[in-house]
């Protein structure tokens, strides 16, 4: 962890026009919940279709993707990362600073609207649990997308494929893939915390917690390894 890197990263992230992309999704989530409530939707419908279907399945991964690839991927893209790399700093501290900023921003931008939407929908208790689970999800996603940023030159594309194809399609059809789906970890953890029967998935909270840790550690480790061997330019790709 390095505060100077975290400070530059945060300023770069929020200073970019791309960060405006973070605004509409939370507003839409809260808006749809409010409309659903107004037309008399039941709490279980709101929880399953809106909070999970939109919040956990779309808002959280997309926000994490935009932020997670923005903290390092865009610096690699425009070449500014060299300024950080030409310093006698262990690469692990660079990655940890990036991970901390990405997790913090993603967690705030997804957990806060999640709680607000749940409160608007009349399920505030579930909202707290969902917000907490989103923070855990933000950490796992950030580690994943951070690793993608160093492993490939197309982190956004690959990240989208993972979110849409793997989590969005496969894991809803083939139950076995859920144990490698952050989305289902978040649902399982939120269910465990709230004890609510409005939401649920087939994997256990224990598996979800263990796998979240595994993904976070593996992603971070991979990112550090790849950054240690970071090559500039010349590569024919």
């Amino acid at each position: 962890m390095n505060l100077t890197i975290a400070w530059i990263t945060l300023r770069g992230l929020l200073g970019r026009r791309r960060s405006l992309l973070l605004l509409p999704l939370p507003l839409i989530l809260i808006g749809i919940t409010a409309v659903g409530k107004a037309i008399g939707a039941q709490p279980d419908e709101l929880a399953e279709d809106v909070l999970i279907g939109m919040g956990v399945a779309v808002l959280l991964p997309l926000v994490s993707l935009i932020v997670g690839t923005g903290v390092l991927g865009s610096e690699i893209d425009d070449g500014t990362v060299v300024h950080i790399l030409t310093k006698p700093i262990p690469r692990s501290r660079i990655i940890l600073a990036k991970l901390a900023v990405a997790t913090l921003v993603s967690a705030v931008v997804s957990a806060v609207p999640m709680y607000v939407a749940a409160a608007v929908g009349g399920v505030a208790d579930l909202g707290l649990a969902l917000a907490a689970a989103c923070a855990v999800g933000a950490l796992a996603y950030s580690a994943l997308f951070l690793a993608l940023s160093v492993v490939t030159r197309r982190p956004v594309l690959l990240g989208l494929l993972y979110v849409i194809i793997w989590e969005g399609l496969l894991s809803n059809v083939v139950a076995g893939t859920r144990s490698v789906s952050v989305q289902h970890y978040v649902i399982a953890i939120a269910q465990k915390i709230s004890g609510s029967d409005l939401i649920g998935t087939t994997i256990s909270a224990t598996v979800a917690a263990v796998m979240s840790v595994v993904i976070t550690v593996a992603g971070t480790w991979l990112a550090v390894q790849r950054l240690r061997s970071f090559s500039v330019a010349g590569e024919t790709s």
Binding site: G12, T86, P88
Partner: protein, 303 residues
Amino acid sequence: MTDLELRGVSRWYGNVVAVNDVTMTLGPGVTGLLGPNGAGKTTLLHMMAGFLAPSRGEVLLDGVATWRNPGIYRHLGLVNEREAVYGFLTGAEFVRASARLHGLPDPAAATRRAIELVEMADAQDRRMGTYSKGMRQRMRVAAALVHDPAVLLLDEPFNGMDPRQRMHMMQLLHRLGEQGRTVLFSSHILEEVEQVSGTVQVVVAGRLAASGDFRTIRRLMTHRPHVFAIRSSDDRRLATALMASESVAGVTLGKDGLTVHAGDYGTFTRALPRIALEQGVRVRALVPSDESLESVFSYLVSA
């Protein structure tokens, strides 16, 4: 005392060889890395700076490999060719961030010193996004110098600079070299290298074509005729006498003097005073006219 040493370094991408078996040692002073575009200068610099692994051979800074070794940046500064900066930071913030990342005891003082060195104090509080190319370049040099490194590597540092900034940058590099730092800069523009440093490493098609003082290099290429411009009290008389000398391959009589093509540098320069004396001709000027880096360079490239 810091040496940068390359031992039999090659780098290839697939079956394209970018750098081919280069061995060189860079010591204190300014060295120009010269070569046409695509010769492998940037690849070499990136390997020196630890941003690329050599496919074969070793790149050592004080005996330690630069690849996968962030510790080298305590002694090394890099100004690469991509001029990307954090446009949202002011120049001073940018340099200060570098100072902090280096863990310097007094980042503020180091920042002030580095910015003064590149004469950017007036613009240091402006956002870097508003800088001109030359200003950005100088701020990047300031950031690369903030920790007072023994080795400074610059890739095409004069790109995009106006003549005044160029002059200033040249003086700065001179000064850094005189302070005993190892300064290496790459360029494909000959005048730049010629003005900043006498020592060159010439890279052509991935190979080290020549290294050392470029005037010496020129003299060693004896199979190339040496060209001299001569002015004398009686050009025509001298021309006739010179044509009789075996050391001379050709003489052109022009409006403002003679142009002499000599086969061998030493033989000709020894023969000329004798011939002039015999003929009673006073030699007013004798200038080796193709010792500019440009001619050395074109010889090497076409060789």
